[in-house]
Subunit: 596 residues, 2 copies
C-alpha cells in the first residue's frame, strides 16, 4: 500500500525537508490561490510548494523554480475513480489516460473484468503491464467472477475461468489492492465453496462488492463476509442501508447506469469521509463531452452539496477506503495530484464546476504530451499481445436458419424484448411466418434475428433467436463486446448481411460493425481482445458516431444500440437473454427453446 512521503532514499528525503523549510527552491509553486483542507473542511488560502512530485508545503509562502499564478482558483486533490472497467472506454489504458487526466481524474481503481473474461490470467497480466508506468495511477482489483456463471451450469461458453490460485499469483503485485466486485452474491449467500475460497484468500485486502438491490439480513451477510464496497445502489433507501451497514457507498455515473442524481442527497460533511465516486462503465464520447468523475462533482455542486464535502468524496474518501495513504489531500507529504477549480460563475459553487489546470505528481497535465507518450508506447509494442481474438470459422447464410417445428405456415417463438436505456429485457412471444421449413423474421413486427457465435475456443457453438427493439429495416449490426463472455453477437434482418457482419468482424479481429444491404457501412476495429483499441480517443469517438449514424440510417431508434447489444448475452440480468448455447430464461436460470 502506498504511504505518505514514501521516499526511497535518505538523500531524497533530506532534500524534501530542505525544500519544505525553504532552504532550497521548490520545483513548482502555485501562488495566490486557495486549497481544500480535507481534514477540517475549509478552503484555506496560501501557496502550494511541490518537490519531486509531492507537496512539501501548503499555506506558507514559497519560492520555486517555476511559479504558477492560481489566479484565485482553489486547488483540490485530483479525482479518484473508485471503480472502473477501462475496457468500457474501448481504449487501452495509455489511451484512456488521454481522456481522463485532462478532466481531473488522476487515479483509477480498475477491475479488468472484461479482458479477464476473454483472456483469463493473461488478461489480468496484460492489464497490469498495460497500465504500468502511465502518468495516470492505475490500481487493480482482481476480477472475482470470471466467468459470470458457473461453467457447469452450461449456460454459455466463456473465454476463460479464473481460479483462486490464478488470482493469488497476482495478489502481491504492488498495484493490486484486492478482489474485484463480488457479483456472485447469490453464491456468497449460499456458501458456494469457490466463492468463500476467494474471500478467505483475500481476507487481508479490500474485497469489493456488487449487490444491486440486496437488503436486510442478506446485505448483513454480504458485509459480514468482508465485502467492502458497492457501486450498484440505484435508490436512496438502498444506498442508505448499504452505507449504514459499512459497505462503502460508491456513487456511480457511467454511460449506461446513472445514479448520481438519485444518490447525491446522501453526501454531506459527515459522510463525505467514506462515500466515493466512480464511473464503472463510461464511453469516451461521454468523457469528452461531460467529463469523468468531475461530472459527478459538477452535479453534486449544482445540487448544493458543500464543496468541502464534494471534493473530499471525489478524492480523500476513495483514497482512504482503498488504503491509498499517499493521496487525496492537499498537504505536505501527499502526492501532488491537483485540480485547480472554481465555480463556473466565479462565485457560487451551486453554479457548477469550472475545471482549470490539472497536475499529476506536480506536473501539469498536457494533452499533447499524453498523445505523444501513447504513440511512443504503442510504437514500442506491448509485452503481451492480445490479438487473434476471433477463433471462429467463416459463417454463411445457413448458419442463421431457424427451422420450424413442423410443416406449418406460422410458428410461435420466444422473443427477447429490448427496453431502451436498460440492461433488463422482457420475455415476449411472437408468431412468425414459416417458409421452406424456416422461421422468418418479420420487420413489420420489428422481430429480427439475433445470433451468438462462440469465439474463444473454435467450438463452433452458435445459437439463433429473435429480438424486438432494434428497428432495423435492413442490414445487420455485430460486435465482439458481449458481456461477460464476449462472444460475437449479431442482430439483423437478412442472413446475408448478418453473415457479412460476422465475417467482417473476423477480418478486423474484433470490434463493432454495421452492415447495410450494399455491404459494410461503418466499423470500429477493437483488436485488443476484441474489446479495446490503441487508436486515439477522438478517432474512437468519431468511429462510434459513424457507427451510430449508420445504425440510425438503417432505422434503429436506440440511443446506444451497441451498448444494448453488448448486454443481450449476459445471462445474469433478467429476463430473457441469448448466449452461444441458446436462449436463457434468467428467472429460471435455464436454457429454453426458441420455438414455443
Amino acid at each position: 500500500m502506498p504511504s505518505k512521503a514514501q521516499y526511497g532514499s535518505k538523500a531524497e528525503l533530506a532534500a524534501a525537508i530542505r525544500v519544505a523549510r525553504g532552504d532550497l527552491p521548490a520545483d513548482l509553486v502555485i501562488k495566490g490561490g486557495h486549497f481544500l483542507d480535507v481534514f477540517a473542511g475549509e478552503l484555506a488560502a496560501g501557496d502550494i510548494a511541490i518537490y519531486k512530485g509531492r507537496i512539501v508545503g501548503a499555506a506558507d509562502a514559497y519560492e520555486g523554480r517555476e511559479l504558477v499564478d492560481a489566479d484565485g482558483a482553489v486547488a483540490v486533490p485530483g479525482f479518484i475513480d473508485a471503480h472502473v472497467h477501462i475496457e468500457s472506454s474501448l481504449l487501452s489504458p495509455v489511451r484512456f489516460q488521454q481522456c481522463v487526466l485532462p478532466v481531473g481524474t488522476t487515479t483509477v481503481i480498475w477491475d479488468p473484468h472484461e479482458i479477464a473474461n476473454v483472456r483469463g490470467a493473461d488478461g489480468l497480466r496484460w492489464a497490469l503491464a498495460a497500465s504500468e508506468g502511465l502518468e495516470l495511477d492505475v490500481f487493480v482489483m482482481l476480477s472475482s467472477c470470471v466467468p459470470s456463471t458457473s461453467p457447469h451450469m452450461g449456460l454459455e461458453t466463456s473465454g476463460a475461468e479464473l481460479t483462486t490460485d490464478d488470482l493469488m499469483q497476482l495478489q502481491g503485485h504492488p498495484r493490486v489492492l484486492g478482489l474485484a466486485e463480488m457479483m456472485n452474491y447469490p453464491g456468497l449467500l449460499a456458501g458456494d465453496p469457490a466463492v468463500l475460497d476467494k474471500l478467505v484468500a483475500f481476507a487481508g485486502m479490500r474485497r469489493d462488492g456488487h449487490c444491486p438491490g440486496l437488503a436486510g439480513k442478506d446485505l448483513n451477510a454480504y458485509g459480514a463476509a468482508g465485502i467492502h464496497s458497492c457501486h450498484e445502489s440505484t435508490t436512496l433507501a438502498e444506498a442508505r442501508e448499504k452505507l449504514r451497514k459499512g459497505i462503502h457507498l460508491l456513487i456511480r455515473e457511467g454511460s449506461c447506469a446513472k445514479d448520481a442524481d438519485t444518490l447525491l442527497p446522501l453526501l454531506d460533511d459527515y459522510s463525505s469521509a467514506v462515500i466515493g465516486l466512480c464511473s464503472d462503465d463510461r464511453n469516451p464520447a461521454d468523457i469528452a463531452r461531460e467529463g469523468h468523475i468531475g461530472f459527478i462533482v459538477d452535479k453534486a455542486l449544482r445540487a448544493g452539496v458543500r464543496p468541502e464535502a464534494v471534493f473530499r468524496a471525489a478524492s480523500f474518501a476513495a483514497a482512504r477506503a482503498y488504503g491509498l495513504e499517499d493521496r487525496g489531500a492537499v498537504a505536505p507529504g501527499y502526492q501532488a495530484d491537483l485540480c485547480l477549480v472554481r465555480p463556473t460563475d466565479g462565485s457560487d459553487w451551486r453554479s457548477g464546476l469550472a475545471l482549470g489546470a490539472v497536475y499529476k505528481r506536480g506536473r501539469r497535465v498536457d494533452e499533447h504530451r499524453l498523445a505523444r507518450a501513447a504513440e511512443e508506447r504503442i510504437g514500442a509494442g506491448s509485452t503481451i499481445r492480445l490479438h487473434r481474438n476471433l477463433h471462429l470459422d467463416p459463417v454463411d447464410t445457413p448458419d442463421f436458419r431457424v427451422p420450424a417445428a413442423a410443416a406449418i405456415p406460422e410458428q410461435r417463438v420466444r422473443v427477447i424484448g429490448l427496453r431502451p436505456g436498460s440492461l433488463l429485457t422482457v420475455h415476449l412471444e411472437a408468431r412468425l411466418a414459416v417458409e421452406a421449413g424456416e422461421v422468418l423474421p418479420d420487420k413489420s413486427q420489428d422481430v429480427l434475428k439475433v445470433a451468438v457465435f462462440e469465439r474463444h475456443h473454435r467450438t463452433g457453438r452458435r445459437s439463433v433467436g429473435f429480438i424486438r427493439g432494434f428497428g432495423l429495416g435492413a442490414g445487420a449490426i455485430a460486435c465482439s463486446i458481449n458481456h461477460d463472455s464476449h462472444n460475437v453477437i449479431v442482430v439483423g434482418v437478412e442472413a446475408r448481411a448478418m453473415a457479412l457482419a460476422v465475417n467482417h468482424l473476423r477480418e478486423i479481429d474484433g470490434g463493432i460493425v454495421v452492415v447495410g444491404s450494399e455491404g459494410v457501412l461503418a466499423d470500429l476495429p477493437l483488436p485488443i481482445g476484441g474489446l479495446m483499441t490503441d487508436r486515439p480517443p477522438a478517432e474512437v469517438t468519431e468511429g462510434l458516431d459513424a457507427l451510430k449514424a449508420a445504425a440510425r440510417g438503417l432505422g434503429c431508434p436506440l440511443d446506444e444500440p451497441f451498448l444494448q447489444l453488448a448486454f443481450i448475452a449476459l445471462p445474469v440480468i433478467p429476463a430473457l437473454k441469448i448466449t452461444d448455447r441458446g436462449l436463457v430464461d434468467v428467472e429460471r436460470f435455464e436454457l429454453v427453446p426458441v420455438l414455443v
Copy 2:
C-alpha cells in the same frame, strides 16, 4: 493490518454468513436499542447480532443464544486510545486492561517508550509479549527516540539505545503498526542521518509525530517527511494548523497534559473522521476516578459536540488513521467492540456520558474475569523477566556533598525552579551557606538537594544539585521513574534520608519511596524495569495515595510530587534540568556547573 471480517477458514466464514442470514442463531443479540452509524452520522434503531466476536447483523431483528436488552441505550464502537504509554499507569499490560476495558477503551496503540529506554530492544520484546493474548487489543508503535538525547552529546547516561536495525527486527510483528512519536523533530529538521534512516526504514508504515509548538515551514517539513500524527498540540491555533497540514490531530487528556478543553472546538461532523483521542500518560487513580478515553468523550458531549461526531472520533477516526480496518464501526464484519451509552440525564447528550456495559469481541467486559486472568497470567510468569533493575552500589551521605568553590561563608548556586503542574522548570539562582567546605540546602528558602544516580550500567555516575518547589521540611522522596532515561532521582533535606531513600529503592528493585526523619514512610515497588508492577490497580492507587499523603506530611504542597519529580531529569524540556551527568541548561543544550 487487520482487515474487516478476516476469517481464517471457509467453515468459519460460511457459519458467519448463515448466522447473518438468520439461518443459525447468533451468539449474542443486543435488542431494543440504537447504534451509532459512523458512516452517515445517525443514531439508528435496531438489533445487533454478534457471532464469534464479530458483528454479523445490525438494524434487522435477530434471535440468539443470549439476548441482552439494550433498554434504549446506544451501542457505539469501543473507544480507541490512539497514543498511550502504558508504563505511565505504573501497571503491566495485563493490569492496565483491568483499568481501561471497564471504562470503554477496547483498543490502545502503545508506544512502550519508557521500558524501551530502560531495556532497549528487550524492553520492546517484553512489551509485545506482555500485551499478547489480552482481552484488550494492544497495538505497538516502535519507539523512535531512545535515548531522548544523542549519547555523543554526553548530557545523560541512558539505559539503552535503539538503532534502526533493532526496530526493523520487530517491524514485521503483526501488532506493530509503525514508528512511534518522532520527538527528535530538531534532528529531523536538521537532516540527522540517524533520524532519516528510521523514517526511510518505516516509510511503508505509520510514523507518529511529537512536535509541540512546531509551525509554518518547519511543520511542513515534518509532514513532508511522512509524519502522520501529533498529540502535542496545546493551543487551538497550533492544532488547527497541524490538522490542516495533514498531521492527524490526536486530542490528549492525560494526568499531566490536559488539552481536551482547549482543542475540542475543532471537533465537528467533518473533522470527526480524522481527529483521534488519546491519553498519552494517565495514572490509574485518574482512570478509576474520571475514566480514560471516555473522559474526553464526556467533555466533548458537555461541550455540545454532536454525539455522532464525538463517538466517531473516539473510535472510527483512530482506527482508520492507523489502518485498523476491522474496528471502529457498528456494522456487519466489524469486531464486536461496543460500549452501551446514554446521556447522563437520559435525554440530552450535553449532560455528558453515562457508560453502561462494555463488550470486547462480543463478550461483556467483567472486572472479576479480568482480575482472575491477571492473577493466572502473573502466576504463570512472563517469558522475558524484567527484574534486577537497579544496577548501582549502596549510597551514603558523602555521595550528596556539594563542595564549595573556596573557603567562603556563602556560595551562589544554580537552582532548578519547579512550576507546579508543569513539566517546564525555571532557571533560578540562590545564595546558600557553606559549612566545612560544603554547600548546604536551605529549608527557609525551600532550596533542597536533588541528586541523580545512574542505575543501568553500574557506572557510579551521579550528580547533585539544588531545587526549589518541593517544600519538604524533612526526609526525602526518591523514584526510579525519571524520564526518559529513568535513572534514580532523589530530592530531600538531609543526606541521611536521601541515602536511605535510594538504598530502599535498591532493596525493592525500583519504584517510589518517601522517607521521613524516622525512616521509610511509604513505598510502591515497581519491579518491572523499575517502572511498572503486576500488583492490582486498586492496590497501586492506594499505594500512590499513601505516598502522596506521606509527602504532604513532610510539607510538600504539590498535587503530583512524583510526576513532577519524574520529569526533573528530562533534558529536552526547558529550562534547567539535572541528569546523572550534572545540571543541564536545556536552552543552551549543555552541562552547566552547580556553582555560579
